[in-house]
């Protein structure tokens, strides 16, 4: 299978083409089998490829299938590769993607445009697989843009709703800003290394001999890394380009789960991790990544505290968790970052799917203020969602505990930018953990516990169909056991298998794993993290279950902070005033009314009007009166004769031209 690796991304593309082109009139069952079949087969092929990869002794597999662009000494090929990092990403993408496809057949069963939805979803799978399998930056960028396109199509799936189509456009445009940086980064890399192939760049003698650009030193690599990180900021919704992700919740819930939580938004983390060799040579860029990640994690978590839309809470939570991943990348803990990426894919996909199940049960209601007391009515949804919440808040032995713990540990041990920088990063990371546990349990308590705040006669609460529940349960199991790969290291009985597995990829760029006294430190930090999470839960419990009125009175007494948070720090308004409005003004008044209407249109219309005026004047000489023509002939003849007779040297200079 490894030799035919291209089949893995091709299958979803075929599925997309078949459902998209011919599926309009097919019954849902056929579309289901095509969509689930193609992604399922793709998952199986990926599994087989991974098996062969392991069989080959985990050697980097790299194959050039065909040359796509060749220009001078530049070559961009359809080259796919498989290493340990790819293994993790491919299995997460195909596995979680497949589960979400199955879930979507239940969730979308009564929606219009069924074939369109699955065509887009399969298309997304194709591009995402291209992204993670690509062996050079150009092909990666194809996948990168492609997932952006599918994201746009799926956010605007309910395109008749203006907010949905606006959100789609917003996502696309904000991503474009990041992509601009990403492209500049690629150009810079090409200028420095004359290739965009991963292995050639990462192993090239240039890079090996390239001195580390010390902190504060701005060299080519630092700029290239920062530009690539700019692209990652757009795709992975980091400050200051995170604004599109909360709006992306306009899309159907399975889309939010697959694209805007589990896979696509992690593409930025993947790219940074993939380029770890470059980042290792640019400590300044690393520090920027860490600070941006940490700031985003904290910032988004504070917004998440007060949102009332169940999907919006999860959206900000996603932004926050992505910030964690970048924090890990920034402090050089790439495998911890990828570990969190994987566990996050499990529990965040589960959270979204469970939220979708709640919304399904409530008949489309997304406001948590109109839920409450659902735990008994939709027991399975409740249990799975509780599992995911425990995972995201980092309680042992759930998956999030291990991945978040290793990130916080790496942040604590960070020495890039001084020890104190590490402590600050750790402090904010821990504060984010506190906020996370608070808003997640706030969500649980508001949705599933307490008094029911909906009208039972209007809303018929019902458990979701089995196609939706089975993926929930599988993901719940994964959310529990997904982190156990790192458990032996925590218990002191063995190594951290996940880090060890990724060692061949990240080996050179990462600090050695914790040993001896470091383990004691790790256990201490883990204890602190769990206690922090418990505090968050307790506060949420006290505010939303014990004293239900207390939250409102607290909001009232802290009105300033509360409204700021509720309005998301007015970032959208700020962007509108600082960027959108001036751009609109320039576009309207300078580009449209001055350059286009007055300049270009004016020139074209002016020339046309001038020609018309001249023609109108000359027209009168051609009167249709034969004798006037005769007069002109005579006049002409006289002029010629006059020239011949009176011009010096017989008019030769003039008449010679005529001849």
């Amino acid at each position: 299978m490894l030799e035919y690796l291209w089949i893995v991304p091709l299958l979803p593309l075929l599925g997309s083409a078949v459902t998209g082109l011919f599926g309009a009139k097919w019954p849902n069952k056929i579309i289901n089998s095509v969509a689930i079949g193609s992604t399922g087969l793709s998952f199986l092929c990926a599994l087989e490829a991974v098996r062969e990869f392991f069989e080959s002794g985990q050697l980097l597999f790299h194959k050039e299938f065909f040359t796509w662009i060749a220009a001078g000494n530049f070559r961009a090929g359809f080259d796919l590769q498989m290493d340990q990092l790819t293994v993790v990403m491919v299995l997460v993408v195909t596995g979680v993607g497949w589960l979400i496809h199955i879930y979507a057949t239940g969730y979308m069963a009564h929606e219009g445009g069924y074939y369109r939805f699955f065509s887009y979803l399969n298309l997304f799978m194709f591009f995402m697989l291209i992204l993670v399998l690509a062996a050079n930056y150009v092909l990666l960028f194809v996948g990168w843009e492609g997932v952006g396109l599918s994201s746009y199509l799926l956010i605007g799936f309910y395109f008749l709703r203006k907010s949905a189509s606006d959100a789609g456009k917003k996502a696309f445009i904000v991503n474009r800003i990041g992509d601009f940086g990403f492209m500049l980064g690629m150009f810079l890399l090409f200028r420095a290394f004359h290739t965009l192939d991963f292995q050639t760049i990462f192993t090239s003698s240039t890079l090996q001999g390239w001195p580390v650009e010390l902190s504060g030193h701005l060299g080519t690599l630092t700029f290239a890394c920062l530009l690539i990180f700019m692209g990652a900021c757009g795709k992975s919704a980091q400050l200051p380009l995170y604004v599109w992700l909360p709006d992306a919740m306009e899309g159907p819930t399975p889309v939010s789960a697959l694209i805007h939580a589990a896979t696509m938004v992690t593409a930025g983390v993947y790219v940074v991790a993939r380029s770890h060799v470059l980042f290792a040579h640019a400590p300044t860029a690393m520090l920027v990544v860490a600070i941006v990640g940490c700031a985003t994690a904290f910032f988004a978590a504070t917004i998440g505290l007060v949102q009332t839309d169940i999907k919006k809470v999860l959206a900000y939570s996603t932004v926050s968790q992505l910030g964690y991943m970048f924090l890990a990348c920034g402090v050089g803990a790439f495998s911890a970052s990828i570990f969190h990426l994987m566990t996050h894919a499990f529990f965040k996909a589960l959270l979204f799917l469970a939220a979708g199940s709640v919304i399904h049960a409530m008949g489309g209601e997304q406001d948590m203020n109109r839920m409450g007391g659902l735990s008994k009515k939709i027991r399975w949804t409740y249990l799975t969602m509780l599992t995911a919440t425990l995972a995201i808040t980092g309680f042992p032995p759930f998956a999030g505990f291990f991945s978040k713990d290793s990130i916080l540990l790496s942040a604590f041990q960070n020495e890039n930018g001084g020890r104190s920088a590490g402590y600050v990063l750790y402090g904010f990371g821990l504060a984010t953990a506190l906020l996370t546990s608070f808003y997640m349990f706030r969500l649980i308590f508001l949705t599933f516990h307490g008094k029911q705040r909906y009208d039972e006669h209007k809303v018929h609460v019902h458990e979701s169909p089995r196609t939706m529940l089975v993926p929930l349960m599988i993901l719940a199991v994964l959310s529990i056991i997904g982190g156990w790969l790192a458990a032996p290291a925590m218990l002191g009985t063995g190594p951290d298998y996940f880090t060890k597995f990724l060692q061949p990829v990240f080996g050179g760029s990462e600090a050695a794993g914790p040993e001896g006294e470091a383990r004691a430190l790790e256990l201490t930090l883990a204890g602190i993290a769990v206690i922090t999470a418990l505090i968050g839960v307790t506060v949420a419990f006290w505010l939303y279950l014990k004293r239900p009125g207390k939250a409102d009175s607290l909001a009232k007494s802290l009105r300033g902070i509360y409204t700021t948070l509720l309005n998301k720090y007015y970032v959208d308004e700020l962007y509108a005033a600082m960027i959108v409005k001036p751009l609109l003004w320039i576009s309207t008044n300078v580009l449209w009314k001055t350059a286009d209407v007055a300049g270009i249109d004016g020139a074209v219309n002016g020339i046309a009007a001038g020609i018309t005026a001249i023609g109108d004047g000359v027209r009168h000489t051609q009167s249709g009166n034969t004798r006037s023509y005769a007069v002109w002939v005579v006049v002409g003849a006289l002029v010629v004769m006059a020239v011949i007779f009176f011009w010096p040297s017989g008019g030769k200079p003039v008449l010679g031209m005529l001849r």
């Binding site: 009167s623 249709g624 005769a630």
Partner: protein, 100 residues
């Protein structure tokens, strides 16, 4: 022997008369005749130069011109008859279908 320039001057006068008549007369027949006059003025010049230079080229050209003029007279008169029949007039001012 009459000097050549006499012929040339006569030819120019005849041609000028032809042009004048062509431009200012209204009757189509008259205009047609003025064209013939111009042709013959040219013929006269041709013959005069032919004789002065002692070459026959000019006389050959005259024969050509006469032949063409005869053909032109046939076609032209045919057109004039048609105009007269269709429009009941020979005034060139009234033959103005192509005019703006």
């Amino acid at each position: 022997m009459v000097p050549t320039n006499y012929y040339v001057i006569l030819s120019a006068i005849l041609f000028g008369l032809g042009v004048f008549a062509f431009i200012f007369k209204r009757n189509i027949i008259t205009i047609f005749m003025s064209i013939e006059l111009m042709l013959n003025a040219v013929n006269l010049a041709f013959v005069a130069f032919s004789q002065a230079l002692g070459k026959l080229d000019g006389q050959v050209f005259v024969l050509f011109v006469i032949v063409v003029a005869a053909a032109e007279a046939a076609v032209g008169l045919g057109i004039i008859i048609l105009i007269a029949r269709n429009r009941q007039t020979l005034n060139v001012e009234r033959v103005n279908l192509l005019k703006l």
